[in-house]
Structures are given as structure tokens and as C-alpha cells.
Point group: C2
Chain length 144, copies 2
DNA sequence: ATTAAAAGTGGACAAAGTCAACTAAAGGAG
DNA sequence: CTCCTTTAGTTGACTTTGTCCACTTTTAAT
């Protein structure tokens, strides 16, 4: 693979690390950390979500996950209901409060995106969007 | 801005968070953390680099930076030379050892990129590359 | 000359993440 | 069925990472 392309990709990675970093710090302005927000999000997306799914998907330590879930349960954002078929598993659900909190986070996140893209024309936004889809499709296809 | 586009962008961000996360954990396999690697890299790129540049560029707390730099100095990866014109500033330089360490990290990072892109055709790599350049150009232009 | 801002340091602390040992349940292989 | 392995999750002890604030020193600004 061409040296210059690798250089550019690494530069992009540094650049996008900063983009994501800024987003994440904004999320931290709410009461919940990025990770907690991600967990709420994933629980809401997935039916029959269990802790281990999250561990895989978010690439986290299971003990750490266990603690975060306990915290979220304590704060009444989520509920655990143990599986009838497999007593090792707990299905995770958002409570009403959890859904509300996630909704807030979603609104904030959408605003952040809007802000980042303010000053860009429709066609520029479209170009970026297309580019993101290309990257995701291509990399997803073979490596995740 | 269109709801669906925002949705896609957030999805891309989640996706790329994972990509970067995998990279970063690999860097952690070496003796230095991602942040330390970034600092070595930035010092090597910038002439007359001072701590405060790094604080801005990497979006970090200055006391934290101070400590990391002290650690790197202690391990003889960097040197500080106080500016003649402004005694508050210390110019930062890589030592020979620092350069060697950075070279190792660079090799590893290049290998990671190669690995991520293995299985993709030339034209696919080219597409991804172009897409990255588009995103960086467009977002950089107005917002950083 | 006084005040304000910039650069950096240090203490105390909190948040985030890791590691290893453990329990309990489920899924085989024989 | 019994033994062994795997999966899901928890707990304790710990390290790393990151934050907050007060402080010093030096430079810039009015």
C-alpha cells in the first residue's frame, strides 16, 4: 500500500479523533458519560439486549460493563429481567426515565451535528455524507 | 438538515469510534499510550513546539500535559530547552531515543492501516482515501 | 507602574478502565 | 447421567487517565 495514502489515512484518523473528542466532551456536559449514552442507545436499538452484547459491541471489559449497568439500574434508567430460557442472561430494557434521558441525549447529539455542519452548503453536506457511507460500507464489508 | 443524514452521520461516528478504538488499543500494546504517542508525533512535526501547543492541539488539560511531558523527559524520550526570548516557554525536542521510539510506533501504525485495508482492492482503497480527504477538507475548512 | 494574560507546575482528587479470581448456569462428549 | 468446558455475569483490588484549582513566574498591555 502506498506510503502517501497511509500517511493521509493516519492524518484523517488524527483529525477525526479530534472531531469525535469534541462531540464526546459535549455529551459529557449532560449528566451522563459518552459510554453511558452509548449503552442507553444500544439497549434501545436492540431487542433482547444482554450485557455481553454490549461488551462485544462497545469493546469493553465485562466487569466494567457490569458496574456501569448496575449504576444505570440504580439510577432507574434501565431494568434487568432475567431470561426464562437461560438464567445466566439478563435482558436489558430502558425504563421510561431511561427513554427520556436518551431522547435528551439524542436531541443534543443532533444539534451537535447541525453545529458541526453549519456553514457548509447542501452540496458539501451531501458530499461528506456520501463519503462517510463509502468509508463505512467498504471497511465494514471485510473487517468487522 | 435532513433527519436521515444526521442519523447516518451519527452512525458513522459510532462506527469510526470503534475503528479508532481498535487502533488505539493496538498502540497500547507498545510501551506507550496513545496520548504519549501523539505527543511524540506532534513534537517531531512541529518546530519550536511548546507544551501549550500540544494542549491546544490535543485538547488536553495543561497540568496533565505537564505531567506527561515530565514523564517523557524522565524516560529520556524528549528534552526541554527554555526559550531565550520568553522564559515561560520550553521548546520541546525528541531525543535520539524518542525518535527511535516514534519510528517504532510509526511502523506499527502503518502496519495497522495495512491490516485494516487488507482484503480491499486498489480501487476500493482509493475510494476510501478520496472520501477521507473530502471529509477532512470540508469539515476543516469551516470549523477547526 | 499596575494589572492582566500566558506558560507551566503541583496537590488532591475523581473517573475510567483493567486484571484476576470467583459463582452459577448451560452445553456438550462420552 | 457425569465430567468438562464454555458462557454470563459479579466482585475486589488495583492502575491509568483525566480534572480542578491554587499557585509561581514571566511577558504583554494600558
Amino acid at each position: 500500500m502506498d506510503k502517501e495514502i497511509i500517511y493521509d489515512i493516519r492524518q484523517f484518523n488524527r483529525f477525526y479523533t479530534k472531531v469525535l473528542g469534541l462531540f464526546n466532551n459535549h455529551i459529557l456536559d449532560t449528566d451522563y458519560s459518552l459510554t453511558e449514552a452509548r449503552i442507553l442507545f444500544e439497549i434501545s436499538e436492540e431487542t433482547e439486549c444482554i450485557a455481553n452484547n454490549l461488551v462485544q459491541k462497545l469493546n469493553m471489559d465485562k466487569s466494567y460493563m457490569s458496574r456501569i449497568l448496575r449504576k444505570l439500574e440504580k439510577e432507574a434508567l434501565i431494568e434487568k429481567k432475567s431470561s426464562a430460557r437461560d438464567n445466566r442472561k439478563n435482558f436489558l430494557f430502558l425504563t421510561k426515565k431511561g427513554e427520556e434521558q436518551l431522547a435528551k441525549i439524542n436531541i443534543q447529539s443532533d444539534q451537535q451535528i447541525n453545529q458541526l455542519f453549519s456553514g457548509l452548503s447542501e452540496s458539501e453536506i451531501h458530499e461528506i455524507h456520501t463519503s462517510m457511507m463509502v468509508i463505512k460500507e467498504k471497511l465494514n464489508k471485510y473487517n468487522f
